[in-house]
């Protein structure tokens, strides 16, 4: 894992001291809320439905055990004993006191973490693949580039006041586990003639105008990626719309300007940028990459797993994925117990996961955009003991990528922008399909729920998506079908009129029945939808 150098630490510490002073001045009345609001937002502190909310960045979703223990400590000491892992691989605390915020940031800084740039019109936390460094299909580890981009984008003076927020994802496999093309900039590391470089997509996003990012360059040499992104952002910063918040994202610019013209301007700017010598020297890239060297794996391990315990075998079949090193496996920990709150973890669960990572996975954890946790390097021989420990803490649910592995935003239970609650709908659907055999029969089915059009719950990218709307003060839910956030990216289509809270659960069940009745051998829900189209689903839903 990356470790702060003295610059990183000094910057973060200085920020904590600055915010402590700002907070004190707010509490003393020297600053008005209008003056203080932008300052607290720059440190991830929102005022939400019930209290202040703090969003803490987990860079590209990677955490050490020590950091996870600190997240647990913060939940216990300053919040109400739990936190919410988000689709951008961050964690949110819902019950923060303003007076405690500086102490929390100081605690975070002590383990090389912060909440900087988790809000505001700047470059947000860089997201990445939770299997980075361990999946067999990747062409390089995407994290060194993600870390380089973290450093480049942190306090970047030119990009602190962009027209709107800006989200970047980096992956390095053909399989996309990070919804890469639904980001403002998506980068896929690729190999050309033996050289590694970036394939760059610009102008994706969700929200009220969802768009899949088009490719604007097939290959940028690795050593020039920073210049290239700098050029992408410069063109956006110059021409992005500041007159209308709803048209301010880069996706609108690329769409309105046209991909060709946007690309042309980026190329022109890129040619200029390259003359400035901004790209980091190779030695710096190597320094960063060295932090992501593989852990000291043992050799000669067996690949055998004793599957005689049926419950264990069921868990292995959904939660355990192949690792590139023999004898090891990738373990997905579900934060989606049936009837639970997707993405929430208690302090005790966080502590336990941190302890298990220390014991079984070289001290490291990852947060996934699907709001689960990954232990990336577990010896196959340790899987049974690990599963036992997870089971005892309600972390042993075997539902990865099944219908109850639901992404849900906080919705109206926590979010002041919401139109409808998301979590109760997720709970009811999970309960309706609680039988694991039935879920497995349905196979891969990604269900995603947002409580409003901002789409934090990725509903556009759900095989089944649900969007909460406000119909004359009453919660109502629209159903979308056919979306995907993976390498076969697509945006879901609305089925028709919305449903009430119980109606939407029935509607989901009807949609799955149409799938079961029509699927052919090996077809997933989304494949069947693509083949047979919307009509049979509509018929079943509205007959």
């Amino acid at each position: 894992m990356y470790q702060y150098d003295t610059y990183d630490q000094a910057m973060v510490d200085a920020r904590v001291a600055e915010f402590r002073d700002q907070t004190q001045r707010r509490l003393d009345g020297q600053l008005s809320e209008a003056q203080f609001r932008p300052l607290r937002l720059m440190n991830g502190l929102y005022l939400q439905l019930h209290a202040y909310m703090l969003r803490v960045a987990v860079p590209y979703g990677t955490l050490s055990s020590k950091q996870m223990h600190m997240l647990a400590h913060i939940a216990r000491q300053y919040d109400r004993d739990y936190g919410h892992f988000t689709t951008r691989q961050n964690i949110q605390y819902n019950w923060i006191k303003l007076a405690d915020a500086p102490d929390i940031l100081a605690d975070l800084a002590s383990v090389e973490m912060h909440a900087i740039q988790t809000s505001g019109n700047c470059i947000r936390n860089i997201s990445s693949d939770q299997f980075a460094g361990v999946s067999a299909d990747e062409i390089a580890d995407p994290r060194p580039l993600a870390e380089l981009l973290r450093q480049w984008s942190s306090f970047h003076p030119e990009f602190t006041y962009l027209p709107r927020k800006f989200k970047i994802a980096v992956i390095a496999s053909q399989e996309d586990r990070a919804a890469m093309r639904l980001h403002d900039i998506g980068i896929e590391l690729v190999k050309k003639d033996g050289e590694i470089g970036a394939r760059v997509f610009v102008g994706g996003g969700m929200g009220r105008t969802p768009m899949v990012a088009p490719e604007i360059r097939a290959f940028v040499p690795f050593a020039e990626v920073v210049s290239y992104l700098e050029a992408c952002l410069r063109v956006y910063n110059r021409h992005g719309r500041r007159d209308n918040k709803y048209k301010a994202r880069i996706k609108i610019l690329v769409h309105e300007m046209g991909r060709e013209e946007y690309t042309r301007q980026v190329e022109e700017e890129f040619a200029h940028m390259k003359t400035l010598g901004l790209d980091p020297p190779l030695a710096e890239l190597e320094r960063i990459a060295a932090h992501f060297a593989p852990p000291p794996y043992e050799t000669g391990l067996s690949d055998e797993i004793d599957l005689s315990d049926r419950d264990f075998a069921a868990w292995v079949s959904t939660q355990v994925k192949p690792h590139k090193v023999p004898g090891y496996a990738i373990v997905n920990i579900s934060l989606k117990p049936i009837g639970g709150i997707p993405g929430d973890a208690s302090s005790a669960q966080m502590d336990l996961m941190a302890d298990l990572a220390e014991k079984y996975s070289f001290d490291e954890l990852r947060v996934t955009h699907a709001q689960n946790i990954v232990l990336a390097h577990v010896k196959k021989a340790d899987l049974y003991a690990l599963w036992k420990a997870l089971e005892e803490a309600d972390l042993g649910t075997a539902n990865l990528d099944l219908i109850s592995d639901i992404i849900a935003c906080p919705g109206l239970d926590y979010c002041s922008l919401a139109n409808a609650r998301s979590i109760p709908v997720a709970q009811k659907i999970a309960e309706r399909f609680s039988d694991l055999g039935r879920q497995k029969e349905l196979g891969e089915l990604k269900l995603k729920i947002s409580g409003c059009i901002n789409a934090c719950g990725h509903h556009h990218a759900g095989n089944i998506g649900i969007l909460g709307v406000d119909r004359k003060g009453v919660e109502n839910y629209q159903l979308l079908l056919g979306g995907s956030g993976a390498e076969d990216v697509s945006l879901g289509q609305i089925t028709g009129p919305g449903f009430d809270e119980n109606g939407i659960v029935d509607a989901v069940e009807k949609a799955t029945n149409v799938y079961l009745a029509n699927r052919t051998e090996g077809e997933r829900f989304v494949d069947t939808f693509r083949r047979i189209g919307m009509a049979p689903f509509k018929e079943a839903l509205y007959a």
């Binding site: 019930h50 709150i341 109206l412 609650r421 979590i423």
Partner: protein
Amino acid sequence: MNILTGNDLATGDVIWWTGEGWSIHVNDAVDVGDKGAEIAQAESAARRVNEAYVIEGEKDNEGNVRPAHIKERIRALGPTVRLDLSLKPADPNAGNWVI
């Protein structure tokens, strides 16, 4: 009726204007008529409230005050999915109050 709400500056707690001060219970809220903005300004300046605003309130059958819109009712109660953290942790039917 118009009721005035905001958050406690230091703790962030959701609070309601009672005519004399602030309460975390919406049932203590009073009708501020058209004085909401004025009270909000004075109370904000004294740092007794943060981000204050007026919403529409109503009285239920028992005469208890509650916000007219579901969003403010959830804000007044707490998350419906964690009633243990709401203002009515002992009431299993508290969630119904919101709907």
